[in-house]
Amino acid sequence: MRSFINPLFALILAGVLAACSSTPTEEDTSATDNMAQQTDTTPTQPVEPVAPVKPDTSSIPLTADNFYNHPSNYDGTTDTRVIYFAFDSNTVPAAAFETLRAHATYLKNNANAKVRLEGNADERGTREYNVALSERRAKAVEKFLRVQGVSASQIETVAYGEEKPAAFGHTEMDWAKNRRVEINYLSGRP
């Protein structure tokens, strides 16, 4: 049971539990509020990956259940353009915080850059209701970036519901890949 003492795994597990216990309402901003206190207050600092050692995440098996919060999906830089979500959740996963902070820093340093946050849902449930759910995901990411100090004028959101799947199968893993927000740079791409 090596994984039980792996702190990274514990963090992920905490994220999973947090996501499960939270109800998807607009009031649920706990993740973003916490982040506000941890924000790096020196925006001019370059986005060098200061974390000296990337944790070895290979020991954590990637499953449909932990996919949204799996470290392998987020490299902590603006190269990562997709944020995943748990089932029926619009909570930004903890594993994506560093990546989103990198996007926030980039946007703050590049006033000409504009992003469109494209919310998506998996195929379960009705189409227009899924549009509404996917908008909440896009808005959760928007709120995260705004709390980091990104200007509202640099962000737009669009909700695609289940209409633009990334994975076309019908398994739990396909659904995990489709519950996502894509960060689409409309201008000033990094």
Binding site: R127, A132, Y160
Partner: protein, 425 residues
């Protein structure tokens, strides 16, 4: 049965150019009425076999069981040739006999009669003289007339189905199409690289409304005239522009907008362009559908947690919950008499179509598939068409309100979704 299958296959063969919907009756009523549709004389030389189309229509309703022509002892084409005894022997309760004669004008004279074997009486006799291009219309009109004569309910065979197709192998994966209710005569309305959603009919059947993301991937609601293809963008606010539904008087559109930060139900006056917000709730409010009285809407809301169906009075904006079974009920439609609601219900992780009797308060699941969505009621209230999945592909199916009849409409390529049954045309 075999003969019908052959008929359907032949019809598809003739029209291979278009990806037509093929319709299969998978579950008919045990008490379906045996009916003999005698092949019309002259039908095999005509571009469309009216007798075959009528037979397929009646079969598809699930209420009639056609008797194979090979079982018929005689094949009358008019009243003089009718021998009731021959049909009594093979168990037919009704007989349809007729003829197709080519006219010098290039058109056809189609005559038929409907006979009641039990009382040995002729119930209907009619003659039509359509151009060749309208033979299918005449066939569906005959089916409508016969269906109403025998069931007391107007037939819905002359109606159309509007739907979205998705085929990622083509350059414009999203297409908006409509077809006859039997899947024939497909017309493409819009092709797009971006999603098309939530198509719906105007009450007079002349226009449609839909959501298209064609403008740089942003959603807008369009109204399009089917005959002239002229169209207007009627809603393109920031955020969601979704779920349009025409009021019964055709003057207003109910829709979902999130321009105030959260999905809410609005009403757009199509003449004055005035916009009225109808819901005020932090939860998701979407999927509005007018009730026949034009004074109320039903819609989906997550105000109690998961999605449930609510009823809204558009005058005083009061809201009352309607669905109570289970934790997921969404995307409702209503029968024309306002008697039943049909909506998507989740049970044990499966999504099915449920029917709620608003007068008796009962609720029944009427489908056995999974991932069912977008139920749409026929204008005569007899059937519900909906989207579902068959071996991982989106297909359309139809079910009777009581669940006893099921019809499959598998697509030939790509996915078919979001069917909207037209009003009477």
């Amino acid at each position: 049965m075999m003969r019908l299958l052959v008929a359907v296959v032949t019809a598809c063969w003739v029209m291979t150019a278009q990806a037509e919907l093929v319709i299969r009756v998978t579950e008919g009523r045990a008490d379906a009425v045996p009916i003999a549709v005698v092949p019309f004389s002259g039908a095999s030389q005509a571009p469309e076999d009216v007798s075959q189309i009528v037979e397929a229509d009646l079969h598809r309703s699930g209420q009639f069981k056609p008797i194979p022509a090979s079982d018929m002892l005689s094949r009358p084409h008019n009243e003089n040739q009718m021998i009731y005894r021959d049909f009594k022997v093979i168990g037919a309760e009704y007989v349809i006999a007729g003829s197709m004669k080519k006219q010098e004008t290039g058109g056809y004279e189609v005559s038929y009669a409907l006979f009641d074997v039990g009382s040995q009486k002729k119930l209907i006799e009619e003659t039509y003289r359509p151009p060749a291009s309208q033979l299918r219309d005449v066939a569906h009109a005959i089916s409508d007339r016969i269906y109403e004569q025998l069931t007391g309910i107007p037939g819905a065979f002359s109606t159309k189905i509007l739907y979205v197709t998705f085929n990622r192998k083509v350059d414009t994966p999203y297409q908006l199409q409509y077809a006859d209710a039997d899947g024939h005569r497909v017309t493409t309305i819009l092709r797009s690289k971006e999603p098309i959603m939530s198509p719906t009919w105007s009450p007079d059947g002349r226009k449609i409304a839909y959501v298209s993301f064609e403008d740089h991937g942003r959603p807008a609601i369009y109204i399009q005239n089917l005959a002239t293809t002229e169209r207007h963008k009627v809603s393109s606010f920031d955020g969601i522009n979704g779920a349009p539904d025409w009021s019964p008087d055709g003057q207003k559109l109910a829709l979902t907008l999130s321009r105030d930060g959260n999905p809410e139900i609005y009403m757009l006056d199509l003449n004055s362009k005035a916009l009225t917000r109808l819901t005020h709730n932090y939860a998701i409010d979407t999927e509005p559908r007018w009730l026949p009285d034009g004074e109320h809407l039903i819609f989906t809301s997550s105000r109690s947690g998961g999605p449930q169906i609510y009823k809204l009075d558009i005058n005083d904006k009061s809201v009352r919950r309607v669905s109570f079974e289970g934790s997921y009920n969404a995307r409702s439609d209503v029968t024309p008499d306002g008697h039943y609601l049909v909506y998507v219900h989740r049970r044990n992780g499966k999504f099915n179509v449920g029917v709620q009797d608003l007068q008796r308060g009962t609720f029944n699941i009427v489908t056995k598939t999974d991932m069912d969505e977008s139920p749409s009621v026929a204008p005569n209230g007899s059937m519900v068409i909906y989207g579902t999945q068959d071996r991982g592909t989106g297909v359309l199916e139809a079910v009777s309100i009581d669940g006893s009849v099921k019809v499959e409409l598998p697509s030939k390529e790509g996915e078919v979704r979001e069917p909207a049954w037209s009003p009477f045309l």
